[in-house]
Symmetry: C4
Subunit: 387 residues, 4 copies
């Protein structure tokens, strides 16, 4: 807190993913020896990647495929999947609407009420396929539908909002969700997010979180940053929340994994988040590019359909390969968006990290990837701009 913005207002410098890089140590490792296992809510996984609870990223089929590959897909229980019995034609419409009508269409489609029986059905369908039923609700949704999710036998419940706290003030007519009470009531592990500070991460752990999601406005281009001015660059948020995890473990013996969520696009981004202290990452757009993704090459956030303050937009991310190629390769693209697990293992080998704990300890260097005039010129030429 020692940077002076002006008289009486000080700030702390936070660092972004594009400002850091990882430094090889004195030891290297064959990538095949890198151990990437991690555990969340008692479930061990070989890939420390969760697919975001977004309608363009995870549906029942994708949840199954991700479970099979060693990862986890989280199904959004307050989106298209639980508002429409057959989500396919709805997803088709979203993918085909013109840009100018998009916001209006989204506001209309998401105005349809959630059908409690669809919540049950989606969970049952995932489990029928042998998948891990990881599902997501907002705090308000958790109050309302928590019991249904419990009855349906979900394996993991994510209670997620842009910003979550253990001290939420609601209008008198509404009773806010008591996170601690909810955790105790639920038969399955409950994950809370998102948060960005040591204090809130610690509070969520004390409330019983099985894991915490870290990431609010992590990148400069994030919706939360532009519309609300709110955000903390991801590496700083991760390191702070990882410190809460370590202190909480020392005190209680319980290890609550920290999952970095937001602003993560390439294999290098995943490596950097873990090196700053994350146990796993949650990613959206890289998965939305899979041929099996429900978004049909498009990606949008959960704040987009807001009736009063829509934020974020639909992005054409394209379809670049199968979910297997994206997660475990072999890669067909050479830009860091295919074979994310292979990239992580290769990075760990390069850095001499035998497992994720070792990866959390590698040396980090501040190395801003600033844009220079020469690079713009090169890039413009590569893009075929100008003459």
């Amino acid at each position: 807190m020692d940077i002076i913005i002006g008289r009486g207002k000080t700030a702390r410098r936070a660092y972004g993913i594009d400002e850091i890089a990882l430094v090889p140590g004195t030891r290297t490792l064959d990538p095949s020896l890198a151990d990437t296992r991690w555990t969340i809510g008692g479930i061990e996984r070989t890939i420390p990647i969760l697919a975001s609870a977004m309608d363009s990223v995870v549906d029942v089929k994708m949840a199954g495929l991700l479970s099979e590959l060693g990862a986890i897909g989280v199904l959004n229980l307050e989106g298209i999947q639980t508002r429409y019995d057959d989500p396919e034609p709805i997803l088709d419409r979203i993918a085909s609407v013109g840009k100018s009508e998009f916001v209006g269409l989204m506001q209309e489609l998401y105005a349809k009420p959630i059908q409690p029986e669809l919540i049950k059905q989606r969970i049952t369908d995932i489990k029928k396929n042998g998948g891990i039923a990881a599902v997501s609700l907002t705090p308000a949704g958790a109050s309302q539908y928590g019991n249904i999710v419990a009855e349906a036998g979900a394996d993991l419940l994510f209670v997620q909002a842009t910003v979550v706290s253990t001290a939420h003030l609601s209008p008198e007519s509404v009773t806010p969700l008591d996170l601690q009470g909810f955790c105790q009531e639920m038969p399955m592990p409950v994950v809370f997010g998102n948060c960005v500070t040591y204090e809130v991460a610690l509070n969520l752990m004390k409330a019983g979180a099985a894991a915490v999601l870290v990431g609010i406005g992590p990148g400069a281009a994030c919706t939360s940053r532009g519309v609300l001015g709110v955000g903390v660059p991801q590496p700083t948020a991760i390191a702070d929340c990882a410190a809460a995890r370590d202190d909480y473990q020392q005190e209680t013996g319980r290890y609550v994994p920290v999952v970095a969520d937001g602003g993560i696009v390439t294999g290098g981004d995943i490596c950097k988040c873990i090196a700053c202290g994350a146990d796993a990452v949650m990613i959206g757009s890289p998965i939305a590019r899979a041929a099996e993704a429900p978004g049909r090459g498009y990606h949008w956030g959960m704040a987009t359909p807001s009736p009063v303050l829509p934020r974020g937009t639909r992005i054409n991310v394209g379809t670049t390969g199968t979910i297997e190629e994206i997660l475990t390769g072999p890669a067909k693209l050479d830009d860091g968006t295919h074979n994310l697990l292979g990239a992580l293992k290769t990075s760990m080998g390069t850095l001499g990290a035998k497992d994720l704990k070792g990866m959390q300890d590698v040396e980090v260097v501040i190395a801003p990837s600033l844009l220079t005039e020469g690079k713009v010129y090169q890039k413009a030429q590569q893009l075929g701009m100008g003459k």
Copy 2:
């Protein structure tokens, strides 16, 4: 002042709006509970937003609409509105002239003398519609037309120049405006601006200002920065002037609101300015995009028509919605330029700030939104550039 530029020249680091972000605390709030009221010159408003005294932003009709919504529009008394009995055809010409003839046309149109009777009429018209008659003059204009404005019964008078000081040196033939004397003479509250330092803000408060406007060349793209080399990034200027406000209140008991003026485009920008200490913001281009704005989708500054040193230019900002959609929503755009009040309330909820005083105390982090090569590439693809 501890950064050494070279031997014998030191400087202080100032921070810009794009270099900071806001950090959620341990408490959150339902946005409906966020109280955004503020008071200027004894007038309480529910929206801490003023529309700039620019010919493309505020006319009599817009002043009325803004008053109704809970904000304030300031009418420029030295522009088109007081030089032409019927400003509509003039505004049509400005909107339709070609780029190369623009500077010349502006110099010609603004050469027509100000008509004192039109000053009176515009003020009367605003009040007739039930609006708050907030009007603006330069210091020279204030000397000349202050009495007319007083007679016409304006509610608030803004005396505004690019840079204002309490010690202005004029040629012998001219008597500079005595700000303190002018304040005492005028029957309505007088707002002074613009300033950027603790000392000048304090001097303006001591001279009797009802509020001070903060902002000189706040952004790198500002006219004052490019043509004159002058400017201070907005967060630093706001924090310094807010410190003057707090010191002045402690000494005198009088609270003089600080209004951030310039470089503010999105809801996030508004939130950041208040978090740095502002009581309200003055915005131009976001309002010029309203269907009801006099600029017809164009926006230009008051330095543009200068006969000897024209600065700034006409920008095609487009028309994106009604003034109601822009100020209070519901938003039809998802980029942070619609429902500015909703964005502020949502941000306050996210940050746990119950009122604007609480918002002034939220934690700020330095988080530069630097452009990286990858982002240029992405953006270029989204824009459809290259192949």
Copy 3:
């Protein structure tokens, strides 16, 4: 020197023109009261601007026009003007050659030997028109042609190379120019440059310089920076050399003006250079845009025609107005490149600086004009790129 690049290599942070801005003080001034006079080699001028000794910027006619307006134009005595009796058709060819043949043409045209009698004639022509005969030679050229220049009665001689020092090591067959001896021999004041450090500036002053030119690779896009890796951002170089000037004056009583040369494009750049300690600026491209400039809308540097290591290139700067409009207005453009004197006076008024000495003392703030993603997007839209 306290920044550690790596073990055993430390560096100092230097600041560029785009990283600083000027801060208004507690006093303002009517621009008409700003006194911009300065003196070089006993010659007083009302405009602290020199036009660069470049073939695209100054010829005999331009030297006369600049003298008349209150500035100075420096004629390059080793370029087109002294190699060709009639330079006009040569300048036509340079302006009309295609991009791919440009380097070759320049190498050919500048291979023609310098004609000593043309040196004499150009100086005589300038003086015949009542102009100040300020002319430029390289150190090698000064050895060879110094006497001719002296005989011709030049008013000011600039001895200029990319980098100049008082300790130049030449091959045994060549005797390097003894700067101090040369100064004593010459009947007119001699200006030396370019330099960027306190030590070299002081050495040049001790050698008898009438002024020193400051600027080597001042901007990131400079030829010296790209091809040679050499350069110091202008504000740091100016402040250091200005400190040498002040120390030298204190010791000897003689005041040697510091002229900032390079990287200066707008009125704001001029203001910033003076605020960092410069007494005047030397500019090329802004003058090359004058209708009367010999470059016909093109601009190129003196390193461009090098037979072995051509550097820099021909840039199409366009023609935007008369030299009068560019220097003293009234401006027809609103981007800071017209009425440079008016911009300086307005900035001085804004900052409360009565004369150039006062301007050298104004407060400077570090305010990087970094590019953000949002600005690229806006700019791309303004440029009509993308859809």
Copy 4:
């Protein structure tokens, strides 16, 4: 290590090539007096430039040409040259394939096994032409083919991987290369790389390296940075490894040159690397632009054909001149990519450095070449973008 990213995670600031510039001292030098000789493995060369062991850069003919000019070309012994008896049609195919089929084609072409007899033949061919037979193998390749290379009489062997260490952990079935033992066994000097830290550079020197290559993910756009998150900006890595070299020499008396490899494009980049402590540089893309380069105007890295995690891509660098024009001039281009030796000598003259040791001691300044809005605008106009 004193920058706090977050609680419990600290980092060191590293500096990139685009963030530094070189400062002229009090002495200058005629470029013809600059001595650029250096020695690697007992071989003295007049140009401190090595051409990278990449299939687009060096073949037998290019190795000969580079030797003749005073430089060294390193032949990749695990690429096209040793997999195909006649590499020409293969290189033709790579140059003509479409973008979408490129990764697949590369994976297919590089799947063909290495032919040991071709290793021998290429080395013999280079020596037959009077060239220096400098060749490159990966650590695994060194284990397998080291003896053949020795028998063939190579002059210099580069054992090179993205990251090399003296403590590599392999699966049990594989015996990792013992670098120290290998050095002792081999009859020719062995160069190791790449590394970026003091410790690893020192370990490689202790293992007997004849030189060390420095550079892992040196630039923000590097493959290692994007895909793996790994990298250290070049100036910091060079300074650290140069400190290891100096300490090692002080201790043992043996001088092990440090070669900067990666991220080097212009003459200015070469000058900066040497100023940070490098003895020589290894460059790829600048050489790939030679008319004689095997890449036919294209350039690609050795990680591109990886069957599971392809990284980097084929870049169309174009053909801009002969290898002689590129290395020793005369230059036909004015952008710093022709006459690299001339640029180095001119820079040394400018900086007063008589030899490379002197160049390693010149003053460095932090001078970020950040992109500003104005520059994007200018560049866009130069590129003919927008209207």
